[in-house]
């Protein structure tokens, strides 16, 4: 874990705030906490954080508004911590840029595992020096940079992890299980809604026509592929 990793906890319940701070400190993280949306917005403007643990039901400015303010920013990554376990809320939050969604109540182990997984994606360093192109989209895997039509495209760590994995295997189909297991972790291998949501997010940022994708293509029933399939030599 790097010293630069900073976590902001946004939770209005005093007891839970103390409990989560205790868990994060016990896990070796340096965490700050605020108890409402206004303070959260101020802290996020003033300081750099790698990760925000964000409750949705907050006084004054709710978690959805904070999430909307963060949308499009590569950092901080966001894990939603909410008592609302409805699938619609989860998908909406992921669609708005959250990296993960944790339903209350949760144990310290589960919380820290999710934090580790997201920070792993933030800090993932690629050993591949590869630069992969598809049309006007250029993915520099080594430099963790992606551009479209010469303009930089800003991705969240999870979006980047997914794109980098696909780009490193450009022209080859990767199945859902592989993508979910490698990007999110083994416990997510069957949760295709996560994958679908992030693929849609990437397509919105990279494709000229997201409903007719060229850069991230659907490969059969079970996977996705970066770019077209290589032509066979005759």
């Amino acid at each position: 874990m790097s010293d630069a990793e900073r976590i902001l906890l946004v939770e209005d319940d005093t007891g839970l705030r103390q409990a989560i701070l205790g868990a994060l400190e016990a896990g070796g993280y340096a965490a700050d906490a605020v108890n409402d949306g206004i303070q959260a917005a101020q802290r996020l403007r003033a300081d750099d954080f790698e990760l925000v643990l964000l409750d949705l039901g907050l006084p004054f400015v709710d978690g959805w508004e904070i999430l909307a303010q963060l949308e499009g920013r590569p950092l901080p990554s966001v894990i939603i911590i909410s008592a609302r376990g409805e699938e619609g809320d989860k998908v909406r939050a992921l669609d708005m840029g959250a990296d993960d969604y944790l339903t209350k109540p949760f144990g310290a182990d589960e919380l820290l595992a999710r934090v580790r997984a997201v920070l792993r994606r933030v800090n993932a360093a690629s050993t591949s020096p590869e630069v992969v192109r598809c049309g006007d989209v250029v993915v520099d895997v080594g430099a963790r940079a992606v551009s479209r039509g010469g303009r930089e495209v800003r991705l969240t760590p999870t979006e980047w992890a997914l794109l980098a994995l696909l780009a490193e295997h450009a022209g080859t189909s990767l199945d859902h299980r592989t993508l979910l297991g490698r990007v999110w972790g083994p416990e997510y291998v069957g949760d295709r809604n996560y994958l679908r949501t992030f693929i849609q997010r990437l397509r919105r940022k990279l494709e000229a026509n997201p409903s007719n994708p060229v850069v991230i293509q659907t490969a059969g029933q079970h996977g996705y592929r970066f770019g077209p399939m290589p032509e066979r030599a005759h």
Partner: protein, 381 residues
């Protein structure tokens, strides 16, 4: 309206148009009215009445009959259709023209009256329909409001109960991660963590049952590979019951199912936990999946426990049914697990049942789900 009735409606006025002038003529002849031309207005009256009551066609028929009858019986030379005096011909022609005009005016008035009646009827129907729509709209608003209140209630209950539970669970599990906890305290804290998890499960079951009964279960159906779903559930069971083995038998040819990954996981978790409680120590749980027809896949969770007596099979999926569990751990539950299984399977287009675990003794809980049609899902695209 039948063709017979329709024909009668046409023929009856025509009959009247012929018979009414004939009857008048008979009357005038019987009264021996020699100068019957003076009474020609009586024929005109018949034509006018028929024009008003029946229409233009009947008025013209009546006028024609009147013309012929007057000519035959009263115009010299009588009992012929000839005219001795050309004035009579002119008079009768004027009569016929006047009768036609009166008939036309009468029939127009009648048509206008009919249109007015039709419009009034349509207006009345529209008012009835409007009232019905207004009532339906009111009912929809009431239902929407009920639905909104139900969701709000669930969200509030969820928040109010789960947030303090989260404090307890996160706090206790943080303590348990540390090494400095004395053994006697560790046992207490473990108990706290265990109980808060159990409480969370009870709250979740109650909320899920409310969602199922209110028809507000949110689903995100997608193609699910049952091998993955069963393996994930078996893995979750293994965390709480490490000594229980789960044998999974899913032939490679088994199609994927259309299901919500999380809700299917919940169904499998409930059935596996049930089997784990029922099965003797050391006996494995078998989970099989196979095509159950053209469009469904059937999953079976089989344990080597005492099985489900035939008399209880009709009630076992009812809510709050606990079936006289001897196991105090199970008796502490609310008897919602299987009714939630049924609700979640049915809302995903399947059904659930219990059968014998033949050839070995035990219980077999089975459920079906729709097979995912190849190429049917656009969700992964």
């Amino acid at each position: 309206m039948t063709p017979q009735v329709d024909r009668r409606r046409v023929l009856l006025p025509l009959g009247v148009a012929i018979l009414a002038p004939a009857a008048l003529t008979s009357l005038l002849v019987a009264l021996n009215q020699a100068n019957t031309r003076d009474y020609v207005f009586l024929y005109l009256g018949i034509v006018a009445i028929l024009g008003l009551a029946a229409g233009l066609r009947e008025a013209i028929v009546a006028a024609a009959c009147s013309f012929l009858l007057v000519d035959f019986f009263f115009v010299r030379p009588v009992h012929t259709f000839q005219f001795a005096d050309s004035t009579d011909l002119v008079n009768l022609a004027v009569f016929f023209g006047t009768a036609g005009l009166v008939g036309t005016l009468g029939s127009r008035r009648r048509a206008a009256q009919r249109r007015a009646e039709n419009l009034a009827w349509e207006l009345q129907q529209a008012n009835i329909e409007l009232a019905r729509l207004a009532e339906t709209e009111r009912q929809v608003r009431v239902l929407e409001e009920t639905d909104r209140l139900r969701r709000e209630f669930l969200a509030n209950v969820s928040h109010e109960l789960r947030t303090p539970m989260a404090s307890i669970l996160t706090g206790t599990t943080t303590l348990l991660r540390g090494q400095s906890l004395p053994d006697d305290l560790r046992a207490e804290v473990e108990s706290l963590a265990r109980e808060s998890r159990r409480l969370n499960r009870l709250v979740s079951d109650l909320l899920d049952m409310t969602r199922i009964e209110g028809g507000i279960v949110e689903l995100r159906p997608a193609e699910v590979d049952l091998t993955e779903a069963i393996a994930a559930s078996a893995d979750r069971l293994h965390r709480q019951s490490p000594d229980r083995s789960v044998a999974v038998e899913v032939p490679a040819s088994t199609p994927e199912v259309m299901a919500d990954w999380n809700r299917l996981g919940q169904v499998l978790d409930n059935l596996l936990e049930n089997a784990d409680h029922a099965a003797p120590v050391g006996s494995p749980i078998r989970v099989t999946a196979a095509r159950g027809g053209d469009a469904v896949v059937v999953v079976r969770v089989i344990d080597a426990g005492p099985g489900v007596p035939a008399a209880l099979r009709g009630q076992i999926f009812d809510r709050f049914f606990r079936g006289g569990q001897a196991d105090p751990q199970r008796a502490a539950g609310m008897g919602l697990g299987l009714s939630i299984v049924r609700g979640l399977v049915e809302v995903q287009g399947g059904r659930v049942w219990v059968e014998d675990a033949e050839p070995m003794p035990g219980a077999c809980f089975a459920f079906s789900l729709p097979a995912a049609a190849i190429g049917a899902s656009e969700m992964d695209r």
